[in-house]
């Protein structure tokens, strides 16, 4: 073929070792090629003798993706393929080897993707949920699945480095440092009951006391021994500490990695709210939606979204048209309502504080009443988390924000409430353990912590977190059985005005996500003190997945108000990061500031949990010590810091350059459109003049 030499020559210009992405020039060329064809007819004629630039794209028979991405009907694509195959590529052996390598790599990737597809957890359920209820609800379940996997992997980590060595080396090993300190502090006797009633086992299971307290579940059972045989040497306390720290770092890395994938999408779209209507009209319809009912609901949903946007516009116009007096009135109302909401939240916090203190004073009670007092902080927190957002919603209605702002404001208030109420609970515990921070007060002077009330304070904190987790699960089960199913049965079978007004339950994504974030924050806070908590949480979240799925399909109707799914996934992860920060603050404080209990745990007799690191450090060989000192010294860290600053500046500059070039190209597109119109007008003018001239010339004859 005549165009072959050109094809061969320019084939080298394209580098196909880039893996997935196409080079950008090729991308632009394809767009232009596609558009030039589109302007012909519905099925563009395939022109094999077209310009060399276009030829190069199909000419390369390397990755078969090119053929698939051509918008031609199948028969024409097959013709192109035949043409491609008929040409005998005279290439160097190096090129053919490269091409074979890319092809086999491509096939390997496809096989890997297929097998990974098979192993994805709950794939079919999520598809079904997405098809019937839309992207917003599906994003909740995707988030839940992410948390299940995160917790399970963390559990494997903890089991591998802390639990199994502890079990294996339970009896072996020598204590790391000699016992120091007054003998009263070392008294810790959790199994002092002797014979107990049967039902007490059940109560102990729920509150982590009794037979559950002195077990692998809590911090107090782990030994502070180090095993040093000829074959193996394992420092259990050091492993405990490093596993806890690594667990936090690992969770943060997972969250950031997941944020990165969603943020990339958000950045690529420019992140602007412009294009709202066109986005809803052209991408609002989910083609995967099946079923008559789901379709009708989806149509109602699209209708609602368009109406909401139109209403926001008219509201903005009205807000802009307000007089000064009305504006002042509105803003002062908003400030006042903000204070009211704040006041409600502070009242909830005070309630939690009082309840925790009261629960501590009544900690010796027996039976069901004792269980009630144990769970009192959890009960108060849950009630607060339920009641206060309801009131905040009513307040938000009075504030008359636009609908989207209302949702975000309500969500932020609920997040604040949940996380800080957990913080208040922890503060109350800290209060008791460290005698309000005053180490020299009477109770805390001997051991630097309140040894009378909390002989093993870490286990106590672990128990509180365990109780919060269990209570959360129990409340979910209770709500499912006692509220959601009955509500559906009443609404379906009892046709009265009241039942119709109440209606079937709506699946509100944001509240459920906050519940997940809260549960995960509790687990993170408690992981240092209750190493098996990630496993319990994995089981809890798996159960929660199935409960929520059941309630979704049987009891709920899809929410009319929807959240834009990609931005909301990012928002969930940001809120999760807040929870992570709270848990990290707690962990750092307990590692560094509070003296570990002397009666229990792997860090007994150490002045602080962190001090095991220097102790073990000095047992390393001199060379390792010198190396590690060098890494920590200024000679290494300052150049490293400078280098990372340079790398960061480079990426920031690159990102801003891309942003600027996108804006420039957009402006250029606009200008080209205007140029086209101008030229079209000129052509019309000239042709009219030409016509007039012809007429006058004809008239003269």
């Amino acid at each position: 073929m005549s165009s072959e030499p050109q094809r061969r020559g320019s084939r080298e210009a394209y580098d196909y070792d880039e893996g997935n992405g196409y080079p950008s020039e090729q991308h632009a060329l394809r767009l232009r090629w596609v558009s030039s064809r589109a302007s012909n007819q519905s099925y563009p004629q395939h022109d094999l003798s077209s310009t060399p630039a276009e030829e190069n794209e199909e000419g390369d028979s390397g990755p078969p993706r090119d053929l698939r991405a051509i918008p031609l009907p199948m028969a024409l694509k097959r013709a192109v393929r035949q043409v491609q195959q008929m040409q005998v590529p005279v290439v160097s052996s190096r090129q053919s080897w490269r091409r074979k390598r890319t092809k086999s790599l491509h096939e390997l990737k496809e096989k890997a993707r297929e097998s990974l597809y098979f192993f994805t957890l709950w794939r079919k359920s999520l598809q079904k949920i997405g098809g019937n209820f839309g992207g917003g609800v599906q994003s909740y379940f995707l988030f839940l699945r992410f948390l299940v996997v995160l917790n399970f992997v963390s559990f494997l980590l903890i089991a591998g480095f802390v639990l199994i060595p502890s079990i294996v080396f339970r009896s072996a090993g020598t204590s790391l440092i000699n016992s120091t300190g007054p003998d009263e502090c070392k008294v810790y006797d959790p199994n002092s009951q002797g014979l107990v009633e049967f039902y007490k086992y059940f109560l102990d299971l729920l509150s982590g006391t009794g037979f559950m307290e002195y077990s692998y579940l809590f911090y107090g059972y782990y030994s502070n021994t180090m095993v040093e045989n000829r074959n193996v040497s394992y420092n259990i306390p050091l492993a405990y500490l490093f596993t806890a720290i690594f667990y936090f770092v690992f969770c943060l890395i997972c969250i950031i990695a997941r944020m990165g994938t969603t943020a990339r999408v958000a950045v690529a779209t420019g992140g602007s709210a412009v294009g709202n209507y066109s986005v809803i009209v052209f991408t609002g319809w989910d083609y995967g939606c099946q079923g008559d009912r789901a379709t009708k609901l989806k149509q109602k949903n699209v209708h609602y979204r368009l109406q909401v946007d139109l209403e926001e516009e008219s509201r903005k116009k009205r807000a802009a048209a307000l007089t000064l007096c009305q504006k002042i009135a509105l803003y002062s109302l908003r400030v006042f309502m903000c204070f009211v909401a704040f006041g409600l939240i502070i009242a909830a916090f005070y309630g939690i504080f009082v309840a925790t203190n009261f629960s501590q004073t009544k900690s010796g009670e027996e039976g069901i009443l004792g269980l009630f007092f144990e769970y009192l902080p959890s009960i108060v927190i849950t009630t607060g988390n339920f009641v206060v957002p309801l009131l905040c919603d009513q307040i938000a209605l009075l504030e008359r924000y636009t609908p989207s702002t209302t949702v975000i404001v309500a969500l932020l208030r609920a997040v604040f409430l949940r996380l800080v109420s957990l913080g208040v609970l922890l503060f109350t515990l800290w209060d008791q353990i460290t005698c309000k921070g005053d180490i020299d007060s009477h109770d805390c002077k001997l051991c630097q912590y309140n040894y009378k009330v909390h002989p093993c304070w870490e286990t106590r904190v672990g128990q509180e977190m365990y109780k919060l987790t269990m209570f959360d699960l129990l409340v979910n089960i209770a709500l499912l059985v006692l509220v959601e199913f009955p509500r559906r049965m009443v609404v379906d079978n009892w046709s009265s005005k009241l039942a119709q007004w109440v209606g079937r339950q709506e699946f509100v994504v944001s509240t459920n996500v906050l519940g997940l974030v809260y549960g995960q924050t509790v687990v993170w806070t408690g992981a240092l003190f209750c190493p098996l908590l990630p496993l319990i949480n994995t089981i809890k979240f798996v159960l929660l997945f199935y409960f929520r799925k059941v309630t979704l399909f049987y009891n709920c109707r899809p929410a009319l108000k929807t959240f834009r799914s990609t931005t909301s996934t990012f928002f969930f992860l940001v809120v999760l990061t807040f929870g992570w920060c709270l848990a990290t603050a707690v962990m750092i404080y307990s590692l560094a500031e509070i003296r570990p209990s002397m009666g229990c745990g792997p860090f007994r007799f150490f002045p602080s949990m962190w001090s095991i690191v220097p102790t073990s450090f000095y047992r390393l060989s001199t060379i390792t010590q010198d190396f590690l000192f060098f890494i920590g010294s200024q000679a290494f860290s300052i150049p490293l810091f400078a280098l990372s600053c340079v790398v960061m500046c480079y990426f920031i500059a690159l990102a801003s350059v891309y942003g600027k070039s996108v804006a420039l190209l957009r402006a250029q597109l606009k200008l080209e459109g205007r140029d086209k119109q101008f030229l079209v007008k000129q052509i019309e003018k000239l042709s009219r003049q030409h016509q007039i001239l012809k007429h006058t010339a004809g008239a003269y004859e």
Partner: protein, 187 residues
């Protein structure tokens, strides 16, 4: 890997694999779905490339398509004759573009064609009105329809000719994060 199928020649299957985003297994599964629509019309032996077209009514009755308000346009765009009667090639093409592996560009191209009701390679106001009515079951008032159409053209029309060309559409779709996941039919 079970080379025992006799429906297609190996060459045909390779060609399908190169021209669509499906694997061998998926192509055979799709052929079964195609055949299930009309077992008496579709032969089991495609090695001789028979010319078999299924009428639009059968295609439109597939569970994946039957509730989709745009099913007629989808069938028209992907069918050879433009009427919605699809051969196996058209069928595979259609689901390949609508699968999750297809990249944004080709999806945008075909989505543009689907929303272009009068096939003039531009989405004009009347096309937009028809799209809106199909999307909302004609429940928007005339005023609202008019306002939304104006806003859409305002936002997306870059060359200011009052209608959307393919470039405008593709430019808008790039900024829509959900497009890849909504323009997707699982089969």
């Amino acid at each position: 890997m079970g080379n025992k199928q006799t429906i297609f020649t190996a060459e045909q299957l390779d060609a399908y694999q190169d021209c669509t985003y499906f694997t061998r297994k998926e192509i055979l599964r799709l052929f079964d779905r195609y055949r299930d629509l009309a077992p008496q019309l579709v032969p089991l032996d495609y090695t001789s490339q028979p010319d078999v077209k299924l009428p639009y009514e059968l295609i439109g009755s597939m569970p994946e398509l039957k509730d989709n308000p745009f099913r007629q346009r989808i069938a028209e765009v992907f069918s050879e004759d433009g009427e919605g009667n699809m051969t196996l090639d058209d069928f595979l093409d259609m689901f390949s573009v609508l699968s999750e592996m297809a990249p944004r560009d080709i999806k945008a191209y075909y989505a543009f064609k689907i929303y272009d009701f009068n096939n003039d390679d531009f989405i004009c106001k009347s096309d937009l009105e028809k799209t809106l009515n199909k999307l909302t079951r004609s429940e928007l008032t005339e005023d609202e329809v008019r306002m939304v159409c104006e806003k859409v053209i305002d936002e997306a029309d870059l060359d200011n000719d009052g209608r959307l060309s393919l470039e405008d559409f593709q430019h808008m779709v790039v900024r829509a994060p959900d497009f890849l996941s909504t323009f997707h039919i699982r089969i």
